[in-house]
């Protein structure tokens, strides 16, 4: 039965790739990357043999980190595994235990889990030292791998009921943001810690973590290596016990989710606001309509809201991590760097604007017969992003100026922000027609990523866009960093014009491309995922 689930997952991946060369290339690139990570990770972790003293600490940290990320991932991006929604099995005559084993097997299928397993096996080699410890090592590696898979599935299922309701979408948003913030703060704390004595430094983190189940599994290997078979057996037994306990808990949750029907979408409030009749001077009615639609969606659609909240949170973290520590030392460079990161995130909200419209894109298509109409739609999306994004940029720049007292740097910082934001938006416009991607239709799922097989294409696309943004905004950032602060007002005007010009150019090219292949966009994005 488990084999059936594995084949189901493989067919789902294959099905999502069918008929799209771009997506297939992306997936193959993903496979290569996963293989490189897995094999490279195996080699690196197995070389821990060379540093036997630190090896245990590194092993403990690595195991803990892997398990923690597997558990946190569905919280941040709920629906990492859209294809394996247990409620889709509800009508089939499958026993919960069979379903549990099958879903686990399917979860373990895929390039990323296999890469993870390779890294863990490398750790087993790196930590072990004799035939007995090799056996313990392989068992411990499998045990940590099982913790990853079962933990991730258990968190998904336990959150599923909560996340499925519309209000739940907002809760998930908070949870996801919370995890993200916690992770970032841990990261900052780590960076501030002293790096004097590596072994002592590692031990400081590893010692408490070696009492967590993944830590115990790693410690079991070194215990066997150092000739303490009893301790090793006890540690391994405790880790395996945790896996069984977690598995049992997940199995019970799953059994319950297979028989409960969700009816939380029955009630819905009403929305009354200014209609779509508001006129904005200098802006065509169609552009104003698209902007009004986008602004409503930014608030009402959990997915869109999640994007904006994440943008804000990331901006906050960047500001905090670059400036929080040493308020006196903030200089123009820090401010420009920080505002550039924030502006890039803001501009990138325009990427996949057609994919976000998704299934309802036909409503625009049937009302589109001229090129200027498509351009007006794209302009509306850009306008909405500017309406939300420019105040964010002003806020971030002002906050940094206040904290550092460098008020003279404010115009230049803002100039860089507007330029980078405009460039990012222009490139995001282009990306939205050149690499549009489908999002799953499930509405309760604010962090759902693209559906299967598209991830790598998108990642490559984003990397190209980021690089392009950095390159294209160089003239302005260079001028800001090298010209006298007296040129501030001039720079501000120039930066704003430059950003607007690039965004405008991106919008024009995007409109042309989208107009020429609207039917293909529709076919690509409306295909059931």
């Amino acid at each position: 039965m488990a084999w059936v689930f594995v084949r189901l997952k493989v067919s789902l991946i294959a099905g999502s790739l069918r008929g799209s060369t771009g997506r297939t290339i992306g997936f193959v690139a993903g496979l290569v990357l996963a293989a490189a990570l897995g094999i490279g990770g195996f080699v690196l972790t197995s070389m821990m043999r060379l540093i036997p003293e630190q090896a245990e600490h590194v092993g403990v940290l690595l195991s803990f980190f892997l398990v923690a990320s597997w558990i946190a991932l569905p919280l941040i991006r709920f629906g990492v595994d859209e294809t394996l929604d247990p409620t889709r099995l509800a009508l089939l005559p499958i026993r919960p235990l069979t379903a549990a084993v099958g879903l686990l097997a399917a979860s373990a299928t895929g390039p990323v889990p296999i890469a993870c397993l390779l890294v863990l096996l490398g750790m087993a080699v790196g930590l072990s030292g004799g035939p007995l410890s090799i056996v313990v090592g392989v068992l411990a590696a499998l045990c940590v791998f099982a913790l990853c898979i079962v933990g991730s599935r258990a968190v998904t299922v336990s959150m599923a009921g909560l996340l499925r309701s519309r209000r739940g979408g907002d809760i998930a948003l908070l949870a996801g943001v919370g995890v993200f913030v916690a992770f970032q703060f841990a990261n900052i704390a780590l960076q501030r810690a002293s790096f004097g004595d590596t072994t002592a430094f590692l031990a400081e983190f590893a010692e408490p973590l070696s009492w967590t189940p993944p830590g115990m599994a790693a410690a079991a290997i070194t215990a066997a290596r150092d000739g303490r078979p009893l301790a090793s057996a006890a540690l391994l037994a405790a880790a395996v016990g945790t896996v069984l306990l977690l598995g049992w808990w997940w199995h019970r949750l799953l059994a319950r989710s297979l028989v409960t029907y969700d009816a939380s979408t029955q009630s819905g409030g009403t929305r009354r606001g200014a209609g779509f009749g508001t006129r904005i001077p200098w802006v065509s009615a169609r552009t104003a309509g698209a902007a009004a639609r986008e602004l409503r969606y930014a608030w009402r659609d959990p997915r869109r809201k999640a994007n904006w909240i994440m943008a804000l949170v990331v901006a906050g973290i960047v500001v905090f991590s670059t400036t929080g520590a040493v308020a006196d030392a903030i200089d123009l460079q820090t401010m420009v760097l920080t505002i550039s990161v924030t502006a890039t995130i803001v501009g990138m909200q325009g990427a996949n604007q057609f994919g976000q419209i998704g299934g309802s894109l036909w409503m625009q298509a049937v009302a589109t017969e001229r090129l200027d109409q498509v351009r007006a739609d794209v302009a509306g999306v850009n306008l909405a992003i500017a309406i939300i994004g420019v105040p964010i940029l002003v806020l971030v720049a002002a906050a940094m100026a206040v904290v550092s007292g460098e008020y003279a740097a404010l115009p230049g910082t803002l100039a860089a922000g507007l330029a980078v934001g405009g460039v990012a938006l222009g490139l995001a416009n282009l990306a939205s027609v050149y690499i549009p991607y489908r999002l799953p239709e499930r509405r309760s799922n604010p962090f759902a990523g693209p559906s299967g097989g598209q991830g790598l294409t998108i990642m490559l696309g984003s990397m190209v866009s980021l690089l392009g943004t950095a390159l294209l905004s160089t003239p302005v950032t260079y001028a800001v960093l090298n010209l006298d602060e007296g040129y501030g007002p001039l720079l501000l005007a120039a930066g704003a014009c430059y950003g607007a010009a690039v965004a405008w150019a991106g919008r024009r090219l995007t409109g042309r491309r989208a107009y020429a292949r609207y039917p293909e966009l529709l076919a690509d994005l409306a295909r059931a995922s």
Partner: protein, 262 residues
């Protein structure tokens, strides 16, 4: 506008073809849909009704063939034609996070209508279709019938001359279906054209004056209703046209089905 567009049929399709990979979904459809007709497009599931309709409305690019609506080529010269056409496609994915009223308002903006016109027409459409009470609810909370009705309102808002409807009555309760039929009848009486697809023969028989039967991506019969059914009921005519002889009681196959089997 050339003089002959005045007398051109509402829709004229010639050799429409669409392949999806190895499968030919539509293999050369020719259709002439007279102006002012209530035209039914019937055929079994998977016959190519939706694909044909998508190509006629400019949503799906044909591999070959031409479509002229009111004398104008939809694919070669789209400017000006889409504003004369209304569409209600299958699946009905709408802007879910707008309220019904906002959806109409946004459609009006897309269609380039003046705000006061949208307000007036939208209000009347909502009231005739019985949606006024729910106009401020989000579309995501609408039932299937309500979704069809709000989509119909959006399709009618710019007063099109030709209206394409894909399965407009599927999943709609009898009360809503009655309302939709009334609106559509009023629409065709004014000289506008309705093309709708269905596989419910009784409905087509009641509503349509012309129809075409599509099977395996080809038109197997087309013309006025009486000519196509030729004395028999449309149901019987349809079954013989799509080549399904009425089975016996199917003794050989499905012998295991039912409680009398072992």
């Amino acid at each position: 506008m050339t003089p002959d567009t005045e007398v051109a049929p509402a829709v004229q399709a010639r050799g429409l073809t669409k392949r999806f990979g190895a499968k030919t979904a539509v293999g050369g459809v020719d259709l002439d849909i007279p102006r002012g007709s209530f035209f039914g497009l019937v055929g079994p599931n998977g016959a190519g009704k939706t694909t044909s309709m998508s190509m006629m409305t400019g949503l799906l690019r044909p591999d070959s063939g031409t479509v002229r609506i009111l004398g104008q080529d939809v694919w070669r010269d789209p400017v000006g034609i889409k504003s004369r056409v209304g569409v209600l496609p299958e699946g009905l994915r709408l802007f879910e996070r707008l309220s019904g009223r906002e959806l109409i308002g946004y459609t009006g903006r897309l269609r380039g209508l003046a705000a006061d016109v949208v307000g007036l027409r939208g209000g009347e459409l909502l009231s005739v279709l019985g949606l006024t009470a729910d106009a401020d609810k989000l579309v995501v909370d609408y039932s299937t019938g309500m979704r069809k009705k709000i989509a119909l309102a959006a399709a009618l808002l710019h007063n099109p001359e030709v209206l394409f409807l894909d399965e407009p009555f599927e999943g709609v309760d009898p009360v809503s279906a009655g309302t939709i039929r009334e609106v559509l009848h009023r629409f065709t009486r004014s000289g506008s054209t309705v093309i709708f697809s269905s596989h419910v023969m009784e409905l087509v028989e009641q509503l349509c004056d012309h129809l075409a039967v599509i099977n395996h991506g080809r038109v197997v019969a087309a013309g006025p209703l009486d000519a196509v059914r030729g004395g028999a009921s449309l149901h019987q005519a349809f079954l013989s046209l799509v080549g399904v002889a009425p089975r016996g009681d199917g003794e050989e196959e499905l012998a295991w089905l039912g409680s009398s089997s072992g």
